[in-house]
Amino acid sequence: MTSVERLFALRCLPLLDRLRDAEIGLVARACQVRDYGSGEQVASADRPLQHLHVIAEGSVEREGARLPRVFGEASLLLGRVPGAPLIAGSSGARCLLLARGHFFTLVNECPWLMTTVLDRLAHEGLAEMGIAMERQP
């Protein structure tokens, strides 16, 4: 996947659609591409993710439920763990990975991104964002 292909994959995401061309171009260049085979573990249950995951192709599931195209924000920002393994779906998954440091920069430079994250939390719920649901004792 070239950086312009990554750019076009990223620019249609609600999370990033307000970025300017240069900004999204930089994010695209900073992303790594990672292919997961069917059933391959994308992230373990008990460790916070270290990348923002954007599913370019295929799907990723948590306990059988499909995750949205973007996941990992709460894990990156607050160190939350998925609580259950995140597994590539039956057709595998091609993910764009944005490192934690870059995501922090992005959030600091474009704080309105947090509005999208908060809206998703309000409308989709935790499990759909790939975060553990268990209540604290």
């Binding site: 076009f8 620019r11 990348h51 763990v81 975060i131």
Partner: protein, 1065 residues
């Protein structure tokens, strides 16, 4: 690959062992002497014991296998072993990597210890029962593979239980354990080989491994591994991906190529030296004598390594730097080959042994950790893993092939001579590496930083032909947004392709959408080839006839609107069409056309309807005459926001360097306007190019959102070198807001990097001193803050300013090319995860000068006491000093604290200060305080009340300023229902005094949140009834606005919601 297939080398240690991180630990005798903290002793002892047992076994096994191989098979067959090691490690590395991922490090270690126990016993039996040389080959390969593999495994294991800061204190003890184990193992070999058969020594190795099993098991059971995230995704890349990434990185970076060659050379030459000293040692020596000799040498070299690791290595790096330390190994090899060539006896052999097992292990291998830091960003991990995994086996195999080709034909002197020549080449490679190191380090750090202020041409320009084909295809996308994005990228890369794509897009798109594509049409009109221009004009003519025609004004501006049509447009009912007619006729050659255009323009600007004035201003910009800028600027004070915005947009088009006099009006419009006005104002300032706008623009940028601050940055970029003096002045001015100074620093880094480089050390020094001062002020205010809202806010101001100053320093270091992305470091330093904090500290410590870190370190870690050089002021002196602060909040909080403490006696101190410019906040505070009743509540009071509440209390003071401004006090009589079940609260209420009763009977006291559901965008689940309360009501809309401007508010709101949901993690 001495250190590892998983890309983790043994951390350097030694002089840095007594880390500052331990300085505040309870200082017992052990802590003072060794840096071991209370409760750590047993854990450290177990790890040191494990290291000792593993290394003792290795020393025994390697000595035995070397002795057997050299005496039974002969040194001339050693090259075959070198070739075989490649094969063994090719199997070993993926197997262990697989095991680590599947069963974890503890079980892998236990499993391997089991293999070692049985392997030693099998070799012992094999040596007794088997005949032929194969068993000696097997023993030699077995020992050589574990010599490499166990080292890595142990340090990976230790690394899982200690963070880097702890590691720096404690890993020296494990190295000590290792060296002591090797010493014992070597001594045992020396003693036992006199009486026992050499083959029996493999049973001793088994015994050491057997003893290590309970130790490793005890560690795994008793101590928790540190949670370290992140290895899950990239570590799992396949070998092919890693090879591709590493090869690409090598192709692009001379540093990577030099490092790869240097690594290959160091292992290659190491094998040659080893071959040479084996040849000397094995001359006329019996198996037992040889084993005893190797035992003694291992013991001696282990003691040497222990001393170097503990007392020398870090001092060497600190004194001479990574680049100079990298020359030690080539120099050692040159000396070794020179000795082997000229002397050729046991002394040369012993020196060679020390060069390979001593200098390399204790100096060069540790130094490689630093060299790996400079590998280019994206491919860093893959490149490092690959280099570490392949360099040693590959180089050893190459050495085997070389020796087979050379050593069997020529004698040892010729091999030494060739070795000497190759060591010279190695030195040249290392010199190249050293020259590239700082360049690679700086560019690497800058590349890793996601600098969103980089110009679009730099990011999306210069695409290769493949990428351009993809973009051109996307320009035909059915999604208009994607198509427009593609066309914008094409404009940056290939004008002809862009013109073609623009025309195709215009012809197929819905006219209703075309208003947003004016810039593309303008670009084509500016300079397309005649065929495309004609096609565009034909298209535009067709469209021009339609009502609400797009781009009519663009055609007029380019003289493509016929006079007849333009005259007709002047009589239109639509102001935009009239404006297009004005622009077209203004360019007419007929005086009467121009005259009617002028009269119509005057009519448009006279209004009175807003739409007509807006169209008039639009026409002004279409005329393209900078002389009209003054007229446009006169409308910046118009009461209509739309007119003001259009005036700014017009100025963006027509302001020129002759419009300098308009800068103050534009700056005022920027200060008072909405975001869109501000962006237009920035463009106007760029057009004027007057550097006097820099200081006021930087001063006001403290109140801007990050995207707007990037807009200010672009203004500074647009000014170029002209803006440097003003930028430098702002950067050095401690009275300027930090956000403005940060923009100044970024601008200097981009326009005049040497200026920033020369300013940075003094600035950092000055800022550290200020942060230390603020730290002590915070403690003083916090200790005395009870009962005074002024002191509460002042204490929080100093605490938050300390963090902001630290961020500013980290940003300066990032811009200077010494630190990676400071945002992550800043977030990591405030993280709850110990290891994350430690890693951030480690990164900073290794990136800045020792003297700087000594002062900066205590400010980064809350656990470390910040030293105070100057005598600390008393509270009164602090408050009086704070009244003169350039920060309005500090001054007004101090004024309130002073009034709280001294009442009317404080007024003489305040009177003069009230008259100063920029003291509006101070004035408001004093006047409100001197009033009385409910009006006596100040902005500082609001901030203090918010700071006492959940969620708001987690925000820094600058985020509370806006929220406090939006808040209003409510006095609610007893029995009034504040919220009913199902209500969607529009405000969140902070209890200031009195009480509120919830439906469940819970009584909410001062500092509680009422209607906290507002923060979760949820409906109230319960009643909330006042028992007689005073509340501070903050509108939800103000919180939403704050989220858009500050990432911190958004993150804390997310944390608040997740914690409320009881999420684990």
């Amino acid at each position: 690959m001495r250190n590892g297939q998983t890309g983790r080398r043994a951390p350097s240690h030694g002089a840095l062992a007594l880390s500052s991180a331990a300085a505040d630990a309870a200082p017992g005798p052990a802590s003072r002497l060794f840096g071991i903290q209370a409760g750590e002793g047993r854990k450290v002892a177990l790890f040191a014991l494990l290291a000792a047992l593993l290394q003792a076994g290795i020393a025994v096994g390697v000595s035995a296998s070397d002795a057997l191989f050299l005496t039974r098979v002969g040194v001339q067959r050693l090259p075959y072993v070198y070739l075989g090691i490649l094969l063994i490690l090719a199997l070993y590395v993926p197997s262990v990597t697989h095991l680590l991922r599947r069963i974890g490090i503890e079980r892998t270690l236990l499993l391997i210890l089991g293999v070692l126990v049985s392997g030693g016993a099998l070799l012992f039996l094999g040596l007794r029962l088997a005949s032929g040389d194969w068993i000696y080959y097997a023993a030699k390969l077995y020992a050589s593979a574990w010599y490499i593999g166990l080292y890595t495994l142990f340090w990976n294991f230790a690394d899982s239980f200690f963070d880097i800061q702890d590691g720096k204190r404690l890993f020296a003890f494990f190295s000590g354990g290792s060296a002591a184990g090797a010493l014992v193992g070597g001594a045992l070999v020396a003693v036992l080989s006199r009486t026992w058969e050499v083959g029996t020594l493999f049973l001793v190795w088994s015994a050491f491994s057997l003893m290590a099993i309970p130790v490793a098991g005890l560690i795994a059971r008793r101590y928790a591994m540190l949670a370290e995230a992140g290895e899950e995704d990239v570590a799992g890349q396949g070998m092919r991906d890693q090879l591709r990434l590493a090869a690409g990185s090598m192709h692009r970076s001379r540093y990577v190529l030099a490092l790869a060659l240097a690594l290959l050379a160091v292992f290659f030459l190491g094998s040659l030296v080893e071959y040479q000293y084996f040849e000397i040692f094995s001359r006329d020596t019996s198996e037992d004598e040889l084993a005893a000799l190797f035992g003694r040498l291992f013991a001696a070299v282990s003691a040497f390594n222990l001393l170097i690791n503990l007392f020398v290595f870090n001092r060497l790096v600190l004194a001479f730097g990574v680049r100079h330390v990298a020359m030690i190994q080539p120099a050692a090899y040159l000396a070794a080959f020179a000795l082997l060539l000229l002397h050729g006896g046991p002394v040369a052999a012993v020196f060679g042994f020390f060069a390979v097992h001593g200098i390399f292990t204790s100096i060069d291998s540790n130094n490689q950790n630093f060299l790996f830091n400079a590998l280019p960003g994206a491919a860093k991990k893959a490149t490092r893993t690959l280099l570490e995994g392949l360099a040693e086996p590959l180089a050893t195999a190459l050495a085997g092939a070389f020796l087979l080709a050379v050593a069997l034909r020529f004698g040892p002197p010729q091999v030494s001579a060739l070795g000497f020549a190759l060591a010279g080449i190695h030195l040249l490679v290392v010199l190249t590496l050293c020259a590239e190191y700082p360049r690679s380090m700086a560019s690497n750090l800058k590349q890793e930083w996601l600098d969103l202020s980089r110009p679009v041409g730099e990011v999306l320009g210069n695409l290769d032909s493949r990428a351009l084909r993809i973009v051109a295809a996307r320009a035909r996308d059915a999604d208009p947004e994607a198509a427009r994005c593609a066309i914008r990228i094409l404009w940056l890369n290939d004008r002809a392709l862009a013109e073609q794509a623009t025309l195709e897009y215009l012809e197929r798109s819905d006219p209703a959408l075309l208003s947003v594509d004016r810039s593309h049409v303008g670009e084509v009109l500016e300079g397309a080839d005649p065929v495309r221009l004609r096609r565009l004009v034909l298209w535009a003519w067709c469209e021009a006839m339609a009502p609400g025609a797009p781009c009519l004004d663009l055609l007029a501006r380019h003289g493509l609107l016929p006079a007849q049509l333009a005259t007709h447009l002047l009589r239109s009912e639509r102001p935009d069409q009239v404006a297009a007619g004005v622009v077209a006729l203004w360019r007419s050659w007929r005086p009467e056309d121009r005259s009617s255009a002028s009269a119509t323009l005057h009519r448009l600007l006279a209004g009175p309807e807003e739409a007509w004035i807006v169209a008039g201003v639009e026409a002004l910009s279409g005329l393209g005459e900078s002389t009209m800028a003054r007229h446009a600027a006169s409308l910046l004070s118009h009461p209509s926001p739309k007119v003001k915005r259009q005036a700014l947009l017009a100025l963006r088009q027509i302001a020129s360097p002759e419009s300098s006099a308009l800068v103050p009006s534009i700056l005022r419009a920027i200060r008072e306007g909405a975001d869109a006005d501000r962006y237009a104002g920035f463009q106007a300032l760029i057009g004027i190019g007057d550097p006097t706008c820099v200081p006021p623009l930087l001063a006001m940028s403290a109140h801007f959102s990050p995207p707007l601050r990037r807009g200010v940055f672009r203004v500074l970029q647009g000014l170029g070198l002209k803006g440097v003096p003003g930028t430098v002045a702002a950067l050095r001015d401690p009275g300027c807001q930090y956000l403005g100074r940060a923009i100044a620093a970024r601008s200097l880094a981009s326009i005049a990097f040497p200026q920033l480089e020369s300013l940075a050390p003094a600035l950092i020094d000055q800022e550290i001193a200020r942060a230390e001062r603020f730290h002590h002020h915070h403690r003083l205010a916090a200790a005395r803050g009870r009962g005074s809202n002024g002191l509460v806010v002042l204490g929080r101001f100093y605490r938050d300013m300390r963090h902001r100053i630290v961020d500013f320093i980290l940003e300066l270091l990032t811009l200077d090319g010494r630190l990676p992305d400071f945002e992550l470091l800043s977030a990591s330093l405030r993280s709850g995860a110990t290891k994350e904090r430690a890693n951030a500290l480690e990164t900073i410590e290794h990136s800045v000068e020792r003297a700087v870190f000594k002062r900066l370190g205590p400010l980064l870690s809350p656990a470390i006491e910040v030293p105070s050089k100057a005598p600390l002021p008393g509270l009164d002196a602090l408050l009086l000093h704070a009244l003169d602060s350039p920060f309005e909040l500090e001054a007004s909080a101090a004024a309130q604290a002073l009034l709280d403490a001294r009442g009317a006696e404080a007024l003489p101190h305040l009177r003069d200060r009230l008259l100063r410019p920029h003291a509006s906040s101070l004035r408001d505070t004093v006047l409100a305080r001197c009033g009385g009743g409910i009006d006596a509540r100040t902005h500082v009071d609001r901030m203090a009340h918010l700071a006492a509440a959940p969620f708001f209390g987690t925000l820094p003071v600058w985020d509370l300023i806006g929220l406090a401004s939006a808040g209003e006090y409510w006095s609610v009589p007893a029995g009034t229902a504040l919220f009913r079940p199902g209500d969607m609260p529009e405000r969140v209420l902070v209890m200031v005094s009195g009480g509120v009763l919830s439906g469940t009977g819970q009584r909410l006291g001062v500092g509680s949140l009422v209607g906290a559901e507002a923060l979760r965008a949820a409906a109230c689940g319960d009643w909330a009834v006042s028992e007689g309360a005073e509340l501070l009501a903050v509108p939800v809309s103000a919180i939403s606005d704050a989220v858009k401007d500050s990432a911190k508010v958004g993150m804390e709101l997310l944390r608040f919601r997740l914690e409320d949901e009881g999420v684990t993690g």
